[in-house]
């Protein structure tokens, strides 16, 4: 969370905050557990009106940022999403919209982009898994050429909101390289298996492409050369997931600090027990570290700086691990009610837990950092 946002950024953030307080209160989130989609389309459209979908999109395509640094602006929305465990396909829609704005944007893809911007449609990001190096990827989807057409085969999992999205941005292996294509979710040959998850409002699916045919105009970017595009998309996804997770950490921490002042045991507030005070101190250091690395990584990703991948992976790994420990310790300090469904704490634990596990787990990102260090030391040597 920015220390010194501009007035415009602060107004923008506060607007989203007010909106979420009103439209995504904890009880509503608990009810959404039983909702097939996990979010309400009208809610999403109204969010889009607030700017949730346009910040990474070029003005020429109907988008626009608040401060000139769209990803930084978006991180404020993501933070509020985490802070309220809010519903909605924020990450995937923005990643796909930005990809279309960067690379696609002509003809049909322009219409798709317009739909995403308005909130009429949402997109799923069928991303590959991380490889050992920042620029290597693992995907089980293959592309074959059949004349002008491209034929997709393979399965991607887990894909967020695969079952709700109108459009899928798929990364597939084509020969030695990677190609990205935008596929209508309804295209024949696509099967989505619904997965279970710990988050109450997010939905995941395993998407299987069984000989799905698309035209050459479905390609986003340069065929066979999508690797760096994927890297950029991942940096943006990771930035949003991290900001969300830090918002969730902050909410759980604040809730627990307040609890420690209100809750008495043996005639003393919990906050007066040094063993707990020291744990709060550790948690505070993890929380501040989460803010710190999330924002530095965001700034680096905003400008695609050389250290953006390393910082992003450090943030993803740290926030996933220490954020999990932080919220779990908040649960512990709450005692029994902390593990009940009627309490709000688990809403943040669920959000953080899912964010930790998608777009690269902490372990995968740690290995990625090691790869970056090795590459750098290799040059140095």
């Amino acid at each position: 969370m920015l220390i010194n946002p501009t007035e415009e950024q602060e107004f923008f953030r506060a607007t989203t905050e007010r909106f979420l307080v009103e439209h995504a209160p904890p009880d509503a989130l608990r009810r959404l557990r039983d909702d097939a989609d996990g979010f309400d389309r009208d809610y999403w459209r109204r969010g889009a009106e607030l700017g949730w979908t346009s910040l990474l999109v070029d003005e020429a395509h109907g988008g626009g940022s608040i401060s000139g640094a769209g990803l930084v602006d978006l991180s404020l929305v993501a933070y509020e999403f985490g802070h309220h465990a809010a519903p909605g396909p924020l990450t995937a829609t923005n990643v796909v919209a930005s990809a279309l704005s960067d690379r696609g944007s002509d003809g049909e893809q322009a219409e798709v982009l317009a739909g995403l911007l308005s909130g009429e449609a949402i997109a799923a990001w069928c991303a590959p898994e991380l490889g050992a190096r920042p620029d290597t990827w693992r995907t089980a989807v293959e592309i074959e050429r059949a004349g002008d057409a491209l034929v997709l085969r393979g399965t991607v999992r887990p894909v967020e909101h695969a079952g709700q999205a109108e459009h899928l941005l798929v990364t597939a292996r084509e020969g030695a390289g990677l190609t990205q294509v935008l596929v209508p979710a309804g295209a024949s040959g696509i099967a989505v298996e619904t997965l279970e998850t710990v988050d109450l409002t997010r939905r995941f699916g395993a998407v299987t492409f069984d000989g799905v045919r698309v035209g050459a105009d479905a390609v986003v970017g340069v065929p066979g050369e999508a690797s760096s595009d994927v890297g950029r998309q991942l940096r943006r996804a990771v930035t949003m997931l991290n900001a969300e997770a830090v918002g969730a950490m902050q909410a759980a921490f604040d809730m627990t600090v307040e609890w420690s002042f209100d809750r008495y045991s043996f005639g003393r507030p919990l906050a007066s027990y040094q063993a707990l005070k020291h744990r709060f101190a550790d948690m505070m250091s993890w929380l501040q570290a989460g803010h710190a690395i999330s924002d530095s990584a965001c700034a680096a990703a905003q400008d695609d700086e050389p250290n953006a991948d390393e910082l992003g992976s450090a943030a993803k790994a740290f926030i996933g691990r220490y954020g999990g420990e932080l919220i779990q310790d908040c649960v512990q300090l709450h005692g029994g009610i902390g593990v009940t469904f009627d309490h709000d704490l688990h809403l943040y634990l669920r959000r953080l837990t899912v964010n930790r596990s998608v777009a690269g787990t902490p372990r995968e990102h740690l290995r990625r950092i090691a790869g970056i260090v090795e590459a750098r030391e290799g040059e140095a040597a």
Binding site: D262, Y273, H343, S357
Partner: protein, 429 residues
């Protein structure tokens, strides 16, 4: 005092020798109790749907009745109250014989221990005559109305109030963390009868039927979907003074023994428990199964995590055994049991974290049942095992203060009228 009489009573008679008892028990068990594996038993502990759970309970009541009719119920309860007037050694024989057999698990704790044990220890002759036989026949199941939303680890800080009204009492307040109160019959309830004396000196214990209009039972949903725990709201619940157990305002004398019996759990001679069956296992092999499902058995980082989980499981068993031996050998005070609590609790946290780490992205979204599913759910409710049955924080206090003899924490609830003791602002949770 009356418990003492019961003892004598049994003394006067001739006690069945262990071997003939074993033969008798084995004959009944082989003939009447179906074989059941430890895993099947564990299943029983996590029954999902209501129907099935109620059927389970009904089944356990029937089993208990059969055991009663066979003269094998309440081994260490005096015959005068429907028990067998036998010794802990006989109970141990029974525990050995029921291994691998169907058995009424649920009604051992808390019905027999601590509830029946407390009634036996503090009940009047009339109370014991009235309440113990139906328990031993499986007709009446009991719950402990002990913890309160406001209390946390501090059970003696009960806010549930009992006000005397002639020869009866009127109770108001709320109790929580009762297992299966919705299918139980009676509650053993700790209530405050005097707010003008220090915390421990204004408590009294009552017995009350759960199924009555003035007791509202609310089932609590836990993060793993379990709904075993309940919260009760008591509104003007009337209890005749004859259903008070122990002296007025002397409830903590009862409470202290209550805690003791509760800690004893399955080690108590008043409950039956198949030898060798441990509850809430660490289940380190599930971490291995997650790794296998993820196809990571050759990944060295994963191997170290699988090995760590198994290591912690093995050591948890070893430390449990060692501390018990040290206590019986008089090398450690029985407070040292908190060391086991602490080590096992922390180890389970770690093992659950390892399972989730190994699951990787499948921990966020998975299909169907299986090790990975359990890994994700277990991570979500990771702290459950470090809270229920006494928090790890309390265990650490006990180890530092009672085992290592370090200075006790300052308490602001001593020697002050309870009404003047600072209390939680919100009494929620």
């Amino acid at each position: 005092m009356s418990a003492l009489r019961a003892e004598e009573e049994t003394e006067t008679e001739e006690i069945e020798d262990l071997e003939s008892f074993r033969r008798r028990a084995r004959a009944f068990i082989t003939a009447n109790l179906a074989p059941k594996t430890i895993d099947e038993m564990r299943q029983d502990y996590s029954v999902g749907d209501e129907e099935a759970e109620l059927a389970e309970i009904a089944h356990e009541r029937d089993l208990q009745r059969m055991i009663y009719d066979a003269g094998l119920a309440g081994i260490c309860f005096p015959r005068a109250y429907g028990g067998q007037g036998l010794t802990p050694a006989h109970q141990m024989v029974l525990n050995e014989e029921i291994v691998g057999r169907d058995f009424p698990w649920r009604i051992q704790v808390p019905t027999f221990v601590p509830c029946a044990a407390i009634i036996l220890e503090f009940g009047t002759e009339e109370q014991k005559q009235r309440y113990l036989p139906p328990i031993l026949r499986g007709e009446e199941l009991w719950m402990q109305f002990l913890s309160e939303p406001s209390g946390g680890s501090d059970v003696a800080a009960a806010l549930t109030t009992a006000v005397r009204d002639g020869d009866q009492w009127v109770l108001n307040g709320s109790k929580i963390w009762t297992t299966g109160a919705w299918w139980s019959d009676w509650g053993l309830c700790l209530a405050r009868t005097n707010w003008d004396v220090p915390k421990h000196r204004g408590l009294t214990v009552f017995m009350l039927p759960i199924h009555q209009p003035n007791v509202e039972v609310h089932r609590i949903e836990m993060l793993n979907g379990s709904r075993e725990f309940c919260q009760e709201f008591l509104t003007d619940v009337v209890v005749p003074d004859s259903d008070r157990i122990g002296e007025v305002d002397d409830g903590w004398t009862v409470g202290t023994r209550w805690m003791f019996h509760e800690r004893m759990l399955f080690n108590s001679p008043y409950a039956s428990h198949p030898v060798g069956v441990t509850h809430g296992s660490m289940d380190a092999t599930s971490v291995f199964k997650v790794a296998r499902e993820a196809g990571l058995l050759e990944d060295t980082a994963t191997q170290e995590m699988v090995g760590e989980a198994r290591m912690l499981e093995l050591i948890s068993d070893a430390v449990g055994k060692r501390i018990n031996e040290s206590i019986s050998a008089g090398k450690l005070s029985d407070q040292a049991a908190a060391i086991v609590r602490l080590f096992k609790g922390s180890s389970q946290e770690r093992i659950r974290t390892l399972g989730f780490e190994v699951a990787g992205s499948a921990g966020a979204a998975w299909s169907g049942e299986g090790p990975t599913t359990r890994a994700a759910i277990n991570y979500l409710i990771r702290q459950g095992g470090s809270i229920g049955g006494g928090t790890l924080e309390m265990a650490r206090n006990v180890v530092a203060e009672r085992v290592l003899g370090m200075p006790r924490e300052r308490r602001l609830d001593k020697d002050v009228p309870f009404r003047d003791v600072p209390r939680s602002r919100s009494s929620s949770g």
